[in-house]
Symmetry: C2
Subunit: 296 residues, 2 copies
Amino acid sequence: MLKDSIARTRRFHRAVTTEAGVLDASFLGRGRPLGPARVLNAIGRGISDVAEIRKYLRLDSGLMSRLLRGLEEEGLITVETSDSDGRRRYAHFTEAGYAEFAAYEALSDKQAADIIARHPRPEILLEAMDIVSTALGFDRTVFEEVSPLDPRAIACLEAYYSELAQRLENGFDVSLSADPEARDMERPRGSFFIALSDGMPIGCVGLKGTDKGYAEIKRLWVSPSARGMGLARTMMEKVEQAAVPLGINLLRLDTNSVLHEAVAMYQKLGWREIERFNEDPYPDFFFEKRLQAEQK
Amino acid sequence: MLKDSIARTRRFHRAVTTEAGVLDASFLGRGRPLGPARVLNAIGRGISDVAEIRKYLRLDSGLMSRLLRGLEEEGLITVETSDSDGRRRYAHFTEAGYAEFAAYEALSDKQAADIIARHPRPEILLEAMDIVSTALGFDRTVFEEVSPLDPRAIACLEAYYSELAQRLENGFDVSLSADPEARDMERPRGSFFIALSDGMPIGCVGLKGTDKGYAEIKRLWVSPSARGMGLARTMMEKVEQAAVPLGINLLRLDTNSVLHEAVAMYQKLGWREIERFNEDPYPDFFFEKRLQAEQK
DNA sequence: GCTTATCTCTGACTAAAGTCAGATGAAACT
DNA sequence: AGTTTCATCTGACTTTAGTCAGAGATAAGC
């Protein structure tokens, strides 16, 4: 079993590094050496602080300096000294720089599109790639507190709704459920978190403030590609921690018994089953948890 | 949708190329530059013809020559001229070379094991990596005619049996079914094919000769990670083509209606439903196909 | 105000990778 | 036999990547 998993992983590595030849093509496809192409890419990704670029690309300061000079001479970037700190410098695209970066982006996009186009059933492949990306970058998962109206939050919520619609016996229609007002899930009344893996939203959870002496956990969702990695647990901890400074010391949530994994997790995390506390048609399982000031 | 699939694919690329830094570590982990390490690896993978190595690694002849000299001086390889063609040369490991290659292998294995170990549910990740590897290397899928007793054939057959056991209502027990004798699926009576993707068996199919005026297609199986790519169809064509030179012009097969995809495919490929022609307890659906000498 | 730390830049390197034009010897073709 | 083609090898390059020491300017700490 272990032997087999090593062979499979190494086969995967061979597959993606063979394919990485194609990836290199997108970096080298414009007749520029790898070094300057990488710097251009870093700037295009929004990193303009030279020290940051250097750290991101792990480049020596001397090499970095020369690469910047080269790009400047090509007329692709301008480098200027920071106002607040005369030692630091910032790189920005010129018009030509933007165009050049866009050309690299187009190459990368084309290459990605080609891979997808070759596959007779792209959805299978995309799902698998998501699982791999999320797994490989899992320690780099970032949590961000955002408004529930943030487009990335909305993407999560839509996935959540459509999944509920599939799993609940009677389907799911948001308008019939008590859709929390956005402002109930924003400071100071509540809070809303998304989990991002390399920029892609892979999970969300909301803390909905009420005037009834408790707050509710709502909209806990983890992308299928990220399941089984304990993300839901982390998000629950995150949101419980966020509740304390808001002066909340009692949490409630409702769920449906169809969602076994969720029910099992709540119990494991110290939630206590209680009586129905709302008239929402979808949930049939209700939980409560008292928060100590000293949360871990 | 298309837009999204590009973003997801590019995220995947970033994830694996970040991870490829780790991969490089296995190539560079023994204090040898990338060039010679790659050559050593190519030889270890069984490529000894110098021209082949050169093609595989896309190296200039001059550079190649120097890399070989370097490895020779290190005492890791010997290079000798071919007996049959005095221009060609072949590289082989010395004792020390084998040991050095094994050390690289150990590094790669360790790295693969680390990736798996980090994941809380490796089977999910492995399955996803298989799908990606198979998809990326699909045009390099190789078909090989082997004995059904070949270990790779047996691996396929075992997967096939365990899947039948899961999908058939009454389970599946090979001993109750008419398990074809190996020699019925070997030349000259029949034939057996496996599909290999980068060395990993991802599908099989058998042609079982009988003395009843027809041959049977048996054991058609495609790995879950390779489904949806039309591999079953290719394998059917393969085995039908193989039947003609064996003097077979009538093919039969049995299957179970639970396996909808298979049934649909047989119909699409011109198979005609017929009456039950055996007493096997598992199948409930029977097909026949007449072969023309002029198969496409 | 002095010292120390930080950031960038320059010059002088080295190592590695890759290119190119023959030279050499062997096979294949006519 | 003579010509062409082929695979490898050698020498003489260039380009790219990376390293290191120190200079110059600025910021932060005491």
